[in-house]
Symmetry: C2
Subunit: 319 residues, 2 copies
């Protein structure tokens, strides 16, 4: 189970009625933040999910509306009493940007690990007071609490999209283990995905487990033009959070010029990616009432929500 | 006449109900901003005084709660269509901090002039689309629209206070000019403070002008311990804006440790500086209702206002 809250739904500039696009994710009591524009910590304070348990921060790119809230947030996390390190993931160049911004908050009571432009999958293990983030190969994903993958997007500077996947282990069948004459002392290890040679015989997980089960997938794509690698990247997401900077189809030229998307373009990606639900965000400051343009998305992908600040949702394993 | 609005009244962290301490000043339609913590631009948008006409930004020091809103604001000013340069004044080290923060907003459509730790008075001339800021000697102040002086404060890093003075010229007396047989073609120049030798005779301004008149003085002191240079610096201010991080007198130890002030300490400075009015600001995030401590200031200096976000006031020349 995964709880998310859209801390802000705006793009460009923070507004009195709309914070900048940012997503807070709660998994097993630990938190992941995606993007952090100016004012993000204020919205975070409103939702009262706490600051101390933020273990991982994913930054899409170095534009101010996605990162200028970071130094202040890092200071506030420091004030919350955190001493465990935080991991920050971002595109090429992110370390330089973070180091620049930290000029106003040089001293923090915890360390920061920066992962710049990851080329492999990142496996997340939830610890008692933090998260361990490691590059993994695909076959390892089942033993991780979460797997994060990234995709290079098409914006005016290096920008990456994120996909978070919570694997769901196959069901354990006692009757199958007994039928296959698997010694009881191996059950737990096999359930954990290990293959074991024991007393001359090879045991593999399929001898105690049922069929593969779909996990929970959440994707976050902003800022970018629609590109043909996105549908595959977001494939089957339970929730696809996507920028829709412009609601009106007539703003397509602006979207192309500024390397953003219209609602309709985001909806087309949702359709092609066969996701369950689309949540639009990152509305242009001039888009006062984005919801009036929902039909432009629904005509292409029905299950669309026009995001708003502090929209909250729980994602669960399918039955 | 000078209009001011306290954009925020908080210290430390931006809160849902309280922005960080920042002051916006409107003089002849041009704007000066003092300090710019995270979220300042949101409060600025609420008051609708505009972004394009901000000509001068005065920063007290490099702590996040006073400067982290700067890069976002500079970007927003850029979006407003401004092309005229902006001057930023700050303490020692400010240039380095600004250059660091600008990593997320490297391109702006206007130039930035930085004045670090000014040692002289700064004379301000209001232009049609900006302000000219120049170091001046004291005798020149009467010909400037405004004069800014700074004072080194006692905080945990270089920090300066600001005093803004709008000089008021002595009244021009036609009868005095005629009585002193001043040729009419010299009146204007004498009124502007010039001493002129004309046809062998020396004319000085006192031949056409009345007595000196008090201008408008505004002082801004945060963050600091009370130090003995402050009363003289703020002397006779029409409005003295001062940090009162702690309301409760029992928080004096915290104030000493963190290099801040209590309400009572700020009030003592107001009393010693013989100011007209004290406006308290920069309240600690834990100070939920600062106004309940007003008596701690009023017992020492009666004319105290406990600041709040978007408190507005007009300062005029005395009659």
């Amino acid at each position: 189970m995964l709880d998310i809250v859209l801390l802000g739904s705006g793009g460009g500039m923070p507004m009195p009625h709309r914070f900048l696009s940012s997503l807070l994710i709660n998994y097993k009591g630990r938190k992941i933040l995606v993007d952090c524009g100016e004012g993000t910590q204020v919205s975070m304070r409103m939702v009262k999910w706490g600051f101390k348990s933020i273990d991982l921060i994913c930054i899409t790119h170095g534009h101010g509306d996605h990162i200028l809230g970071l130094p202040g947030l890092l200071a506030t996390i420091g004030n919350s009493g955190r001493t465990e390190p935080i991991t920050i993931i971002g595109p090429e160049g992110i370390e330089n940007i973070i180091n620049g911004l930290r000029v106003a908050v040089p001293y923090l009571p915890y360390g920061i690990n920066i992962i710049e432009s990851p080329k492999k999958l990142l496996g997340i293990s939830v610890l008692l007071k933090g998260m361990e983030v490691r590059e993994i190969i695909h076959e390892d994903f089942i033993n991780k609490d979460m797997v994060i993958s990234t995709l290079e997007l098409d914006h005016s500077l290096p920008c990456i999209g994120y996909s978070l996947y919570i694997p769901r282990r196959p069901k354990f069948y006692v009757e199958k283990a007994i039928f296959n004459q698997v010694p009881r002392e191996l059950w737990k290890r096999l359930q954990n995905g290990e293959t074991i040679i024991y007393k001359g015989r090879t045991y593999d997980p399929s001898m105690v487990l049922g069929d593969k089960r779909k996990g929970i997938k959440l994707s976050y794509i902003t800022d970018t033009r629609p590109i043909n690698t996105i549908p595959d990247f977001i494939k089957g997401s339970d929730l696809f959070i996507c920028e829709g900077t412009y609601g009106d189809n007539r703003d397509l030229k602006k979207a192309i010029k500024n390397k953003h998307m219209t609602f309709a373009e985001a909806a087309k990606l949702a359709y092609e990616g066969n996701v369950k639900k689309l949540l639009l965000t990152h509305f242009s400051p001039v888009l006062d009432e984005p919801e009036i343009y929902i039909k432009n998305a629904e005509d292409i992908f029905m299950n669309t929500i026009v995001g708003y600040d502090r929209f909250t949702k729980t994602l669960s394993f399918s039955c």
